[in-house]
C-alpha cells in the first residue's frame, strides 16, 4: 500500500496513457472489452488520485522524481539543481486531479451510448483518455517543459475530439479554431519557457521560483505565459474560440474540454503564485487578473442571454463562470503581499475561487451533458425547435433543473456557497466588484429560466411525440455529477475544510513548494 501511494502520482498519468493505446486493441475483441478497459483505467486513475489526495492531506506535498534511485531524491549527488523530471503534487494539484478524473469518468460512461450512433469508437476513446492524461500531467508536473508537453497533448486530443463528428461542417470548424488557438498558445508558452531557461538554466518550477529575479525578461515571460493561458482558458477578450468549440464537441467530451480549460486556469495560478509569487508586483498583476475576470463574467453572460443554440448558450455561461474564479483568486493575488488583508479576506477570496472551480466543473459538466442529451434525442440544438420535453425526458429535465439552480447560485445549492464566499471577501476589497458579480448571477438565473422554459415546458410539439428518455449510460453519467452536486450542497463546510482550504494554503505557500524540491530553502 505504501509503495502504491509513493508511485500513485506517476501511475495516475501512466495508466490512462497505456489504456489509450490498448483501446484500439481491445476494440478488436469487442465493444464491451473496449468499454471495460476505458472505464477501468479511468476508475483506477480516480482511485489513485484519491489515495494520493488522502496522503497529501495527511503528510503534505508529494514529490516524485522519475528515474532517480529514490523517488524523493530531487537533486542528484554532486549537483546543485534538479536535473531529472519531477512531478510535484500539492493540495492544489490534487484538487484539480480529483475534478479531472471525476469528470472524465462521467464523460466516458456517458459516451458509451453516444458512440452507438457513430463510427470510430476506438479512436474516440483513445483521444478521450489522452485528453485525461494531458490534464492530469499538466496538473501534476513540476517542470516548465513538461507543462508545455502536456499542454500540447491536451490541445491536440481536445481539438480532435471537438472535430470528431466530421460529418458536420461546424464540427471541423470548431475543432480547427481550438487547435489554432492552442498551437499558438503553446508556442508562446514554449517561448516563455525558453526565456526563463536562458536566464536561470533550470526547468524545474521550484528551482526557477527560487532563482527568479523579476528582471525585464522575466516580466516579458510572465506576460507571454499569462496571455497564452488566458487564451486557453477562454477569458474575455480571448474567448472567441470557446462557444464554437464547446457547441460542436460531442457528448461527454464537452465537459472534459471545459475542464481542460480549467486545467489551464490552474496553470495560470501555478505560474502566478508558485513560480513568480511574492516577487511579483502583486497588486498590479492581481488587478489585471480581476479585470480579466470581471470582463469574462459580464461579457460572457450578456452574450449568453440572446443565444438560441442551447450549447452555445451554455458555452457563454462557461466563460462567465470562469470570471468568478479569476475574480476570487485575483483579489487574493492583489493582497498577497499584505499579510493582514490576506488573513482577513484574501484567503477567503482564494478559497471561494478554488471552490468555484470544482462546483462549476460539476454543474457546468452536468448542464453540458443535459444539452447533449437533448441534442441526442431531438437532433437539434436550437431552443426554438424544442418544447414540452418535460413529458418525454423527465430525468434529463430534473438534472437540468439541478444544474441550472446550482449555476445561478440559488441557495442551498453548491454554486451559492462558493459565490457567497466570493461576494463576501470581494466586498471587503472593492464593493463595486461584488455588486457586478451579484448582477451577473441574477442574469444567469434569468437566462437559464428562459432556456428551461423553451426546452422543457410549454405545449408538446407534434413531431416530438416519439421522443423518449436517453439511454441508461447517459443517465448514469449525468447522475454521477448530480449526486456530487447534491452532496456538495448538503455538506459545503465539510468539502471546504477537507479539500478547498488545503488547496488555498498550498497555493499561497510558495516557500513550501520550493523547499520540497530544493530542500530546506
Amino acid at each position: 500500500m505504501d509503495s502504491l501511494v509513493t508511485h500513485s502520482s506517476i501511475l495516475a498519468i501512466a495508466i490512462p496513457l497505456l489504456a489509450a493505446f490498448l483501446t484500439p486493441l481491445a476494440s478488436k475483441v469487442g465493444d464491451r472489452a473496449r468499454n471495460t478497459v476505458v472505464i477501468g483505467a479511468l476508475a483506477l486513475a480516480e482511485f489513485l488520485v484519491i489515495i494520493l489526495a488522502r496522503d497529501i492531506y495527511l503528510n503534505g506535498l508529494h514529490v516524485y522524481t522519475l528515474g532517480a534511485a529514490a523517488t524523493d531524491l530531487t537533486i542528484p549527488e554532486h549537483y546543485m539543481v534538479p536535473v531529472r523530471i519531477i512531478l510535484e503534487v500539492d493540495a492544489m494539484s490534487v484538487f484539480m486531479g480529483l475534478i479531472t478524473t471525476t469528470i472524465s469518468l462521467a464523460g466516458a460512461i456517458y459516451s458509451i451510448s453516444f458512440l452507438k450512433q457513430e463510427t470510430g469508437g476506438d479512436r474516440f476513446y483513445t483521444l478521450l483518455l489522452l485528453l485525461a492524461v494531458g490534464m492530469l500531467g499538466l496538473e501534476f508536473t513540476g517542470d516548465m517543459f513538461n507543462f508545455f508537453v502536456f499542454l500540447e497533448i491536451l490541445s491536440i486530443s481536445g481539438a480532435a475530439l471537438a472535430a470528431f463528428r466530421t460529418r458536420f461542417g461546424d464540427a471541423t470548424e470548431g475543432g480547427f479554431k481550438y487547435i489554432v488557438i492552442s498551437a499558438v498558445g503553446a508556442l508562446v508558452v514554449l517561448f516563455a519557457v525558453g526565456i526563463l531557461y536562458a536566464q536561470y538554466n533550470v526547468l524545474s518550477m521550484a528551482a526557477l521560483a527560487q532563482a527568479i529575479q523579476y528582471t525585464a525578461l522575466d516580466k516579458i515571460a510572465l506576460a507571454l505565459l499569462v496571455v497564452a493561458l488566458a487564451m486557453k482558458l477562454a477569458s474575455v477578450p480571448l474567448h472567441m474560440w470557446a462557444p464554437d468549440t464547446y457547441s460542436v464537441a460531442p457528448a461527454g467530451t464537452t465537459p472534459m474540454i471545459y475542464v481542460a480549460s480549467q486545467a489551464c486556469l490552474y496553470g495560470m495560478f501555478r505560474v502566478l503564485f508558485s513560480l513568480y509569487g511574492v516577487s511579483l508586483d502583486t497588486l498590479a498583476i492581481g488587478w489585471i487578473v480581476i479585470v480579466l475576470g470581471v470582463l469574462s463574467m459580464f461579457v460572457g453572460v450578456t452574450m449568453a442571454v440572446h443565444q438560441s443554440d442551447i450549447k452555445r448558450l451554455m458555452a457563454y455561461h462557461a466563460i462567465s463562470q470562469s470570471g468568478y474564479m479569476l475574480l476570487g483568486i485575483g483579489v487574493g493575488l492583489a493582497v498577497l503581499a499584505d499579510p493582514q488583508a490576506l488573513a482577513s479576506y484574501g484567503r477567503e477570496a482564494i478559497s471561494g475561487g478554488i471552490f468555484h472551480i470544482i462546483n462549476n466543473a460539476l454543474y457546468k459538466g452536468l448542464l453540458f451533458l443535459t444539452a447533449e442529451a437533448l441534442f441526442f434525442s431531438l437532433g437539434t440544438r436550437d431552443l426554438n425547435k424544442m418544447g414540452g420535453m418535460f413529458r418525454n425526458m423527465r430525468y434529463t429535465a430534473i438534472f437540468f433543473i439541478v444544474g441550472a439552480l446550482a449555476i445561478s447560485g440559488v441557495p442551498p445549492f453548491n454554486g451559492f456557497t462558493s459565490k457567497l464566499m466570493i461576494y463576501e471577501s470581494v466586498y471587503n476589497f472593492s464593493p463595486v466588484l461584488a455588486v457586478i458579480a451579484m448582477l451577473v448571477s441574477i442574469v444567469t438565473l434569468a437566462s437559464f429560466t428562459k432556456a428551461f422554459q423553451s426546452a422543457f415546458t410549454g405545449p408538446a410539439l407534434p413531431q416530438h411525440d416519439n421522443i423518449r428518455e436517453v439511454p441508461k449510460p447517459m443517465l448514469i453519467g449525468m447522475g454521477i455529477l448530480a449526486i456530487a452536486i447534491v452532496f456538495f450542497s448538503l455538506f459545503p463546510s465539510l468539502v471546504v475544510n477537507t479539500i478547498v482550504t488545503p488547496a488555498t494554503d498550498a497555493l499561497i505557500d510558495q516557500a513550501g513548494y520550493i523547499g520540497a524540491v530544493m530542500g530546506g530553502a
Binding site: I156, G169, G175, F176, L190, F191, G194, Y197, P243
Partner: protein
C-alpha cells in the same frame, strides 16, 4: 577555428521569424496560409531554443573520449526535438481539418467557410 557569429544573428532571425508569423496569423484569411504562419512560428521558437544552448566553438555533448573544451548544452536540443515532433502532430491535425472544412464548404477562406456565428 570557429568564428562567433556577429550581432547575435540567430536571435535576430528568431525575432524576424516570430514577427513574420504573427503578421501572417493576424492578417491572412486563407486557412492554409494561417497554418504556414504557425509552422514559421514553430521554426522560430525551435531556433530560439537551439541558439540558447549553442556555445561558440563548443563540442558535441558526449562524455566518452571527449576532447577538452566547452560542450554545447544538450538540454535545449532535447527540448527542440520534442517540440518538433509535437509541431508535426499539430500541423498534421490542422491540415486534415482544413481538408474536411474544404469538403464541407468548398472554400479555405476563413470568412467564406464559416458556419458558426454569434
Amino acid at each position: 577555428m570557429t568564428v562567433g557569429l556577429p550581432f547575435n544573428i540567430p536571435f535576430l532571425a528568431v525575432a524576424a521569424l516570430i514577427s513574420i508569423s504573427f503578421i501572417i496569423i493576424l492578417t491572412q484569411r486563407n486557412l492554409i496560409k494561417l497554418v504556414m504562419g504557425i509552422v514559421i512560428m514553430q521554426a522560430g521558437v525551435n531556433l530560439f531554443l537551439v541558439s540558447l544552448g549553442y556555445r561558440t566553438g563548443g563540442i558535441v555533448p558526449i562524455f566518452t573520449h571527449a576532447p577538452e573544451g566547452a560542450m554545447v548544452l544538450p538540454v535545449p536540443q532535447a527540448l527542440t526535438l520534442t517540440s518538433i515532433v509535437i509541431g508535426v502532430a499539430c500541423t498534421a491535425l490542422m491540415l486534415s481539418l482544413i481538408v474536411l472544412t474544404y469538403r464541407h464548404t468548398g472554400d479555405t477562406d476563413a470568412e467564406k467557410s464559416r458556419i458558426l456565428k454569434g
